[in-house]
């Protein structure tokens, strides 16, 4: 499963998308994100499974893609 990884530099900053990891489940996804992206000093870091992200709209494919 692919997990998207997000982090922010400092408290109050906007959360940035910094990459992704493949992992069999939540536990290893967190560990792998930490190992892969900890070279920089982050304030916090989050992962979420890619398949839980819902597209809201896309200019190329129409105004609203809520119904497909």
């Amino acid at each position: 499963m692919v997990y998207e990884v997000f982090a922010r530099k400092a408290r109050g900053d906007r959360l940035q998308h910094i990459g992704s990891v493949s992992a069999p489940g939540d536990e290893l996804a967190k560990v792998y994100a930490h190992a892969t992206y900890d070279e920089e000093k982050w304030f916090d870091m989050w992962v979420a499974p890619r398949d839980r992200f819902l597209e809201v709209f896309n200019v190329d494919r129409g105004v609203f893609v809520g119904e497909r």
Partner: protein, 272 residues
């Protein structure tokens, strides 16, 4: 015994000083060897991400080893000799690190069990009366948190896998636990000296219990027909308290490992 806070090794009583020096060298050598073992699996691990985790853990362990070796200057040790000139039989690293793991289950065994045993020992030094050691422990333990998360997650993955995979990890656990439990040492030896002197917060039996409590959940889940933890034999007859090895444990790490760990082939470039 009243605990004194020692700002340098010279402030420690002679017998305590010797025991602390030996403990620091045990930690330094074990971390250097553990880092080397992780490093060998950066490529060839089951997943790209877990190989990256091995790289990161190897870096951490070598960083910790350097901090520990550097601390030995305070004991008037020749740190360059310790790092680069000792034969395998003088290494104080854990027995379970003597050989390259046969397979990934062996790496997970080192990660979930040996790395955890080292952290249990480190955690007992958080209020160490020898301050230079106490000051280093916090950083080490912070980095170790994710080593344990990685080891435990992988051990649980073995538990949930095929019977053959589960048995591969169980067999690693059966081979690894007796030397690791012995590693904490006899209850009445140097461990007691360090506990009474306010260096180490707990005596060996308590450290063993703490270690087992941390690893028991994954052992129960993974180890097919694993006997209850208390049934793990405690093999302390003839235990070498200086090197923290069981009698008959073998001379030390294999010669090729030590050649590489010492950096023998790169001596021309060594800067000190």
């Amino acid at each position: 015994m009243a605990t004194t806070l020692a700002g340098s090794a010279a402030d420690l009583r002679a017998d305590v000083r010797e025991a602390v020096r030996d403990l620091v060298l045990v930690l330094a050598d074990s971390k250097r060897l553990l880092g080397f073992r992780y490093g060998a699996w950066i490529l060839g691990a089951p997943e790209l991400e877990t190989g990256i985790a091995c790289a990161s853990m190897a870096q951490d362990e070598w960083g910790h080893a350097r901090l520990m070796y550097a601390l030995l200057k305070d004991f008037d040790e020749d740190v360059d000799r310790l790092e680069h000139a000792r034969p395998p039989r003088e290494y104080r690293s854990m027995e379970v690190l003597d050989r390259e793991p046969d397979d990934w289950a062996g790496v997970v065994g080192l990660n979930a069990l040996a790395d955890t045993a080292l952290s249990v020992q480190l955690a007992a030094l958080q209020r160490c009366g020898y301050l230079p050691l106490r000051q280093r422990v916090e950083k080490l333990l912070a980095e170790e948190q994710y080593h344990r998360a990685h080891g435990m997650a992988w051990a649980r993955r073995y538990a949930a896998a095929t019977p053959a995979a589960r048995e591969a990890f169980a067999s690693v656990a059966r081979a690894t636990l007796p030397p690791l439990l012995a590693w904490f040492g006899p209850q009445d030896g140097r461990g007691a000296l360090l506990a009474n002197a306010g260096i180490c917060e707990s005596a060996p039996d308590e450290l063993r219990r703490g270690f087992l409590a941390l690893v028991a959940p994954v052992l129960e889940a993974t180890a097919v027909a694993w006997p209850v933890a208390e049934a793990v034999p405690l093999e302390l007859d003839g235990f070498d308290e200086v090197r923290r090895r069981r009698a008959g444990a073998g001379e030390g790490p294999d010669a090729e490992t030590i050649t590489r760990v010492r950096g023998d082939r790169n001596r021309d470039f060594l800067l000190e």
